[in-house]
Every structure is written in C-alpha cells, then in structure tokens.
C-alpha cells in the first residue's frame, strides 16, 4: 500500500458552479457540474477533479505553468472568498455536504 491513497480512492461528489463561458467550453448545459474530488475536499482537489472530468478547462481557471488561480477568477464557498487562501484549505461543511457549490466566478471587468 502506498503512503498516500490514490486521489480517487476516497473521491466524493462535489458541486462546482462555473461561469457561462466555461460551460460552453466544457459542453455542459447547467450552471453547475458535479465532479468526483479527492478528500479532504479543498479548492485544489476540486479543481483537479474539474480538470480531469473536463480537460478543455485545463488552463482556464489555473495558470498552466504556475498552477495559480488566474487573476480574473474568484473562488467562493458558502459565502467565503477563498480566492487568496492556500489551495489546500479544507472547504466549508456546506460545500462538503453538498448544500452549496464551490463557486468559480469571473471578475466583473472589461467591455
């Protein structure tokens, strides 16, 4: 047995709300997708799962080179702004229990 479980060994469903343009890119109709993310649920594990399930989104939320959140993307969970929190911070209970989605939001900008 490896020291750490494989990411999908303890994967659980999590709701992720994504902006319209990413829905189009991912080919999904609804404002939320459900992905199987490794536990404990964090921003990183959810985004890893999102990119695994929808590979066309790789690079659109996190910079490919640095892995950092793209500057004009914000990340919210149960009313908390997690955008600048460490990506391995555990998500709030209302997201882990499915009552709320992890929300990816495009900043209001541009014309």
């Amino acid at each position: 047995m490896s020291a750490q479980p494989a990411p999908d060994a303890a994967a659980v469903p999590v709701r992720v709300a994504i902006p319209q343009q990413l829905r189009t890119l991912a080919g999904v109709a609804s404002s939320e997708v459900v992905v199987q993310a490794a536990t404990p649920l964090t921003v990183r594990s959810c985004l890893d799962a999102l990119e695994t399930t929808h590979p066309t989104l790789v690079g659109t939320v996190r910079d490919r080179g640095t892995g950092r959140r793209r500057p004009m993307i914000r990340i919210y969970a149960d009313g908390e702004d997690l955008s600048d929190e460490p990506p391995d911070t555990p998500l709030p209970a209302r997201v882990t229990d499915g009552a709320e989605p992890l929300r990816l939001v495009g900043a209001i900008a541009g014309g």
Partner: protein, 369 residues
C-alpha cells in the same frame, strides 16, 4: 473554383462569411465562441475543411480550436504553450527586464502540405509548432534562443510574434513587434535577424539589427523571395527573402499602417491601407482608402469606390486584409468598426459584406474547390 469562405476573428467571436464565385451574395455564420476574443482563424491550404482558431480572453486564457468540417463543428485542442527550458527575460517598456510569460496566440499558419502541421506565433514572442492537429505544441526555441532575445521589447500591442511566412520547405520568415524580422533557412532550427535596410527613427540606433516595429509581411506564394512589409512607418520590399529591404512608400498619403497583402495572381500588385499616424489610428482625412500598387511599390493608386469617404475613423489591424485566388482576385478588409468590405474585382469596387460585427481582429479567406 466553387466559392470562398472568409474567416473573420473579432473581439467577441468568430464569423464565417461564405459566397459562390460571384462573391455578391453572402451567408454569415456566427458568432462562434461568442464573447471570446478571436485573434486569428486560418484554414489548411491542403484541406480546406481543416480550420484552426485562436480563442482567448483575459479571464480564462488561451484556447485553441480545430474544425474538421469547414467550421460547422469545433473541438478544443491543446493549449499548453510552455517555453522550452529556462525562458529567461526580455525588456519591458521601461527598459527593465521581465520574465518571458505566455499570453496568447496571435497567429496560426497551417502547413501548405500537411493539415496536421500548424505553426503558432505567440505573445510573449515565440514560435510553436504542432504536428498532430493542434493536440500538442513544441517551441522552435532556436528563435527565442537568438543572442538578441533578451533585448527584445514589446510594441504597443505586446511582445508578439504576429506574422509567420513560410517560404519553402526550409525557409521561413517571422515578424515580431517590436524586434523585427527573423529568418530561418534550416526549417526553424536557427534564426538570424533579417532587418537590413530598415530604419526606425524612434530607436537609439535607427538602423540597428533588431528592435524594429514590423507590422506585417506578405509575399506571393509563387515568388516567395519578394517580400513586402508594412512597418510602423514605411512600406518596404525585399527581393532576397528578407536579407535586405528598400522603401517603396512612394506617393502614399501616409506610410504608417498595419495591413499589407499581395494580389492572388499578380505578384507585383500589392495592397496597403494607410493610417494617419502612430498617434491617430484612423485613415487620413476620415476616408477609408485601400491603396494598390501594380508596380511592386513606389507608385500607388487609391481605391475608394464603395468605401466610406467621409467621417470614417476606423482602423484596419495587421491581420485585417486578405485576398482570394479567384479570377478576378477578391480582396477583403475588416475594420475595428465591425465592417468587412469585399471587392470581387481586385479592389476596383467594394461593398460591405457585413457592417456591424464586433471590432475585426483578423480576416483570412479560403478559395474553395
């Protein structure tokens, strides 16, 4: 030849304009990728159903799209443009050094012989190639490995490689704002500056080997050694694959501009769209005039029939002009005001194909079999 397909990239999506050989009645499809900036759409000369599109915006970064059915359906392909090795630094506007960082794909140039091979010119300036239909990309790092690269500085639009001009199986020219022209004669392994004869007054050394703000290059496929250039200021010509350049601005009302192209059949017929100045990006006197030289430069005639001749203050960007291969040759111009004008007779008469698109970033045209 059965018709043409004009590929239009705009600030808010892509549009496909199709017509038969008469080029008087048009079908308009779009917006494709609505809301995204489409810097460039281009088709494979070998397989006209194979299209590539550069899709990007400030929120979500770069997406590369491919169509295998002439634009009816699209598939997002690879968007991993990772520089080879330690990317190093280039100069910023203020003269400081900053790390190379991928921003977006400006230009896509499919191979003339293989639909799966396509080149991408990117910002920060580098040249990438895919040989698997865009699924994966590799940098031709001999270009950015040139000794001068750490001194390259951005033009107003960024440090972008905006022009890819294949000359034959081994020769290629690329143009970078604001580094200038670079040439390879070994299929992209090694590169040399190709700016001899250019003069740019804004530079400390106006005739330096690199640092020129070249806006666009064009050549006729059957006479690749003759290359035309619209520079920041000056329209230039090379008769030796870019080894040396001479000015051919002649009697143009302004030799500032962005777009330049060569007639589909006559290698001595060249088109430009003069713009007032680098501070006033609109046509002189509020009149949109395409200028045509039938003599390979120096002597130019204004083409105005059907183009707005008063109160016109749009711009035509560097990729905003294209020619088809029909007989007579069609010429197409897209503006930042959202108009795409077409001329089915080499520029003698123009009419708007569409009037109210988002700002046009690029125009390419495919002559369909």
């Amino acid at each position: 030849m059965s018709g043409v397909r004009v590929l239009v990239g705009t600030r808010k999506g892509a549009f496909l304009l199709t017509s038969d050989g008469h080029r008087t009645s048009w079908d308009v499809t779009g917006p494709l990728f609505g809301g995204w900036e489409i810097y460039h759409v281009n088709g494979s000369p070998k397989d006209p159903d194979r299209l590539y599109a550069s899709q990007s915006n400030g929120w979500f970064g770069q997406i590369l799209q491919r169509s295998d059915d002439g634009g009816r359906t699209w598939e997002a392909v690879g968007n991993d443009f990772t520089y080879e090795g330690d990317p190093g630094t280039h100069l910023f506007y203020d003269g400081s050094s900053m790390p190379w960082r991928f921003q977006r794909v400006w230009n896509l140039m499919p191979s003339a012989t293989d639909p799966d091979t396509v080149y991408a010119g990117v910002e920060d300036a580098a040249l990438f190639r895919s040989t698997d239909g865009g699924a994966s990309w590799s940098e031709l790092d001999g270009l950015r490995g040139h000794d001068s690269a750490s001194t390259w500085a951005p033009g107003a639009g960024g440090l972008c490689l905006h022009t890819i001009l294949p000359q034959d199986d081994s020769r290629m020219l690329v143009a970078i704002s604001a580094a200038g022209v670079f040439a390879t004669e070994d299929g992209g392994e090694s590169w040399r500056p190709a700016n001899d004869g250019l003069r740019s007054e804004f530079m400390p050394e106006p005739e330096a080997e690199v640092g020129h703000c070249v806006h666009k290059l064009a050549a006729h496929p059957e006479r690749p050694e003759v290359v035309f250039m619209q520079k920041h200021w000056d329209v230039m010509r090379s008769d030796d694959h870019g080894r040396s350049w001479r000015e051919i601005s002649g009697d143009l009302p302004s030799d500032f501009g962005f777009a330049i192209d060569v007639h589909g059949h006559d290698p001595d017929t060249v088109y430009v769209v003069p713009i007032t100045s680098d501070e006033q990006h609109f046509p002189p006197d509020g009149r949109l005039r395409v200028y045509r030289s039938r003599t390979g430069g120096d002597e130019w005639e204004p083409l105005t029939d059907g183009l707005p001749q008063e109160h016109c203050y749009v711009n035509v960007l560097r990729d905003g002009m294209a020619v088809d291969s029909m007989d007579p040759c069609g010429v197409y111009v897209g503006t930042t005001g959202g108009q795409v004008y077409g001329s089915p007779d080499g520029g003698d008469h123009w009419s708007p194909i569409v009037r109210d698109l988002p700002a046009v970033l690029s125009v390419e045209v495919q002559t369909l079999p």
